[in-house]
């Protein structure tokens, strides 16, 4: 039963990314990506990370992708931009990507076999305890990071007074 869910999510995810590659409209790409990230959230859930699954859907598929769509709206590209037409680049890139894929599979071959994922995952309670005990300090630091990003983004985009 679980394996069916896994394959369904994997197919949705891969398909969405493939669709994004071939679409010429940025808004379509972004919406396909929302689908892909949502599916990834489901996969996180299968891996026993319910909290991260929810975070993935809310933050990534929600907030970040909305940000993308905002920017796409502001930069109105009209007809959109067709994918690369030069065959050379695509062939080269695909060749390199396949080489890299082979290398990566080879590098991770030790973890390929193995029993199925079982047992309870990490509950939100456990995660919260970890965050506020062992990782309290980095956790507080992330707030500084986000604040810095906020200020930076505003400073970048703000129109200079003439």
């Amino acid at each position: 039963m679980v394996i069916i869910v896994f394959f369904a999510l994997a197919v949705i995810c891969t398909g969405a990314v493939l669709g994004m590659i071939f679409s010429r409209n940025q808004a379509t790409s972004a919406l396909l990506l929302v689908l892909a990230f949502a599916a990834l959230g489901g996969l996180f859930g299968l891996l026993g990370a319910p909290f991260l699954a929810v975070v993935q859907v809310i933050i990534y598929a929600g907030a970040i992708m909305v940000l993308f769509i905002f920017v796409i709206m502001m930069i109105n590209m009209g007809q959109g931009i067709a994918p690369e037409k030069k065959k050379g680049i695509i062939v080269l890139a695909c060749a390199m990507a396949i080489v890299l894929l082979i290398e990566l599979v080879f590098a991770g071959r030790g973890s390929l076999p193995g029993a199925g994922v079982t047992g309870p995952g990490v509950t939100p309670t456990d995660l919260g305890r970890l965050l506020f005990t062992t990782y309290a300090y980095p956790f507080e630091l992330t707030s500084v990071l986000i604040l810095a990003a906020l200020v930076g983004a505003i400073a970048l985009v703000k129109k200079r007074e003439p």
């Binding site: 990834l40 690369e84 062992t134 983004a153 970048l156």
Partner: protein, 101 residues
């Protein structure tokens, strides 16, 4: 029937390579940025899968931080895209070639 962690790992690799291909196929900054996000998420998936196999709970905290950093990165990255668009009136990467000495 349960799913072996290796399946998740292979899926993450496939997604990663698709991200690379997307980066080269796309011709505008925003889409290339989205391709990078795909790669980042595939890395998260690999991380979670391998951690699950090794029964390492702290990995989830790390992934949590990665997502946070990614949010900050997206905000800054998109701001940069906007600034470039304002200055150059274009986000086609073919038009942008001043990044050289």
């Amino acid at each position: 029937m349960t799913v072996p962690a290796g399946y998740f790992f292979v899926l993450s690799l496939v997604l990663f390579v698709l991200g690379i291909v997307a980066f080269f196929v796309k011709r505008d900054l925003i889409s290339q940025f989205m391709a990078i996000e795909v790669m980042l998420n595939s890395a998260n998936l690999a991380f979670l899968a391998l951690a699950r196999q090794a029964h390492f709970a702290d990995a989830q905290v790390v992934v949590f931080f990665i997502i946070t950093v990614a949010a900050a990165e997206a905000a800054i990255g998109l701001a940069i895209v906007l600034v470039i668009f304002r200055r150059r009136k274009s986000i086609r990467t073919a038009d942008l070639n001043s990044l050289k000495g």
